[in-house]
């Protein structure tokens, strides 16, 4: 009798151990609870750095300058292989960057219009959720999605989880560039745009913003008086794949490129 009860208990224990794998689910349910109401909330409670890209005034020259300075200063290796190229910031055509916000009846200028893309530093980042070593994480102090290339094991789960294609894997060793002190990465790790965390630390703004001639605006969303907050209130902006609920923090001003508009800040 006692024996029987013991074996029954054991069976229960083993079954419990077997289904224990499902318990972590509870955690992600809460982490992912981004309701539409939450998305409609005016401003985040804690500091959240964000970027506003003014597509109406962005030219190819400006975009190239942004890409150039970022990749040079961050020691991003050049590559001829477009599919393995490491990209922190790059250009993509409007209809492919915003497939869910494009339709054939749009003004011709939109189709093929280059858009500057970078990591969205999402509110609920898909990459952070899946990382098995917490090598990528959401920094509480300013909302940046950070990346520790010394901890990364290169499983590329974040690369496949990110719905924006903002992450790049180091397929081979990179050489230290003489133009910058930013350390070269060893092969086998993932990297992406970090909103110039190394510059923010010493009170400077991201590199791309410095050469953007006013088309990029950077600041704190939780501060209603910040430049980004004011700009977002004043203009119609969109974010990439908004319906996925990741809450991107890179906003795009979409105004008819054909219309003359006063440049922001002028």
């Amino acid at each position: 009798m006692d024996e029987g009860r013991r074996s029954a208990l054991k069976k229960i224990c083993f079954t419990a151990a077997g289904v224990a794998g499902g318990i972590p689910l509870l955690g992600t349910v809460r982490a992912a609870s981004r309701t539409i109401a939450a998305q409609h909330a005016a401003a985040p409670q804690t500091k959240q750095l964000a970027m506003v890209v003014d597509m109406a005034n962005m030219t190819d020259e400006i975009a190239h300058a942004c890409i150039e300075i970022c990749h040079r200063e961050h020691n991003v290796p050049k590559s001829d292989d477009i599919e393995r190229e490491i990209k922190w910031v790059w250009q993509e055509e409007f209809d492919r960057a915003f497939p869910d916000q494009f339709h054939g009846q749009m003004a011709e200028a939109y189709e093929g219009m280059p858009v500057l893309l970078m990591c969205n530093h999402c509110d609920s980042p898909a990459c952070v959720k899946v990382c098995p070593t917490a090598a990528t994480w959401k920094r509480k102090s300013d909302g940046l999605v950070m990346m520790d290339m010394h901890r990364c094991i290169g499983c590329r789960y974040c690369v496949v989880a990110c719905p924006y294609g903002t992450r790049s894997f180091n397929w081979k060793d990179a050489e230290q560039s003489v133009e910058t002190t930013y350390p070269a990465r060893s092969r086998g790790v993932v990297e992406k745009c970090n909103f110039c965390a190394e510059r923010l630390r010493v009170g400077e703004i991201p590199l791309c913003v410095t050469v953007s001639q006013g088309t990029l605006t950077f600041g704190d969303l939780s501060d209603p008086d910040s430049e980004v907050s004011e700009l977002l209130r004043a203009k119609h902006t969109i974010t990439r794949k908004n319906a996925l609920g990741t809450g991107p923090n890179v906003y795009y001003i979409v105004e008819d490129k054909l219309r003359e508009r006063p440049r922001h800040g002028e």
């Binding site: 151990a17 224990a20 972590p24 509870l26 955690g27 809460r30 982490a31 917490a134 994480w137």
Partner: protein, 47 residues
């Protein structure tokens, strides 16, 4: 209620749980094997 989100996001928690589960499974199976193999002696003791 403690913030479960933080718990699930804390680096190392998963590793510790994995290590604990693996260790306890090994111990359980070890004990089970011992219980099976000592069947004869235990039986003698009871008589």
């Amino acid at each position: 209620m403690p913030d479960m989100t933080t718990f699930f996001q804390t680096p190392g928690v998963g590793g510790v749980i994995a290590a604990t589960v693996i260790t306890s499974i090994i111990i359980t199976y070890g004990l089970m094997l011992r219980w099976v193999l000592r069947g004869y002696e235990d039986n003698k003791d009871n008589q």
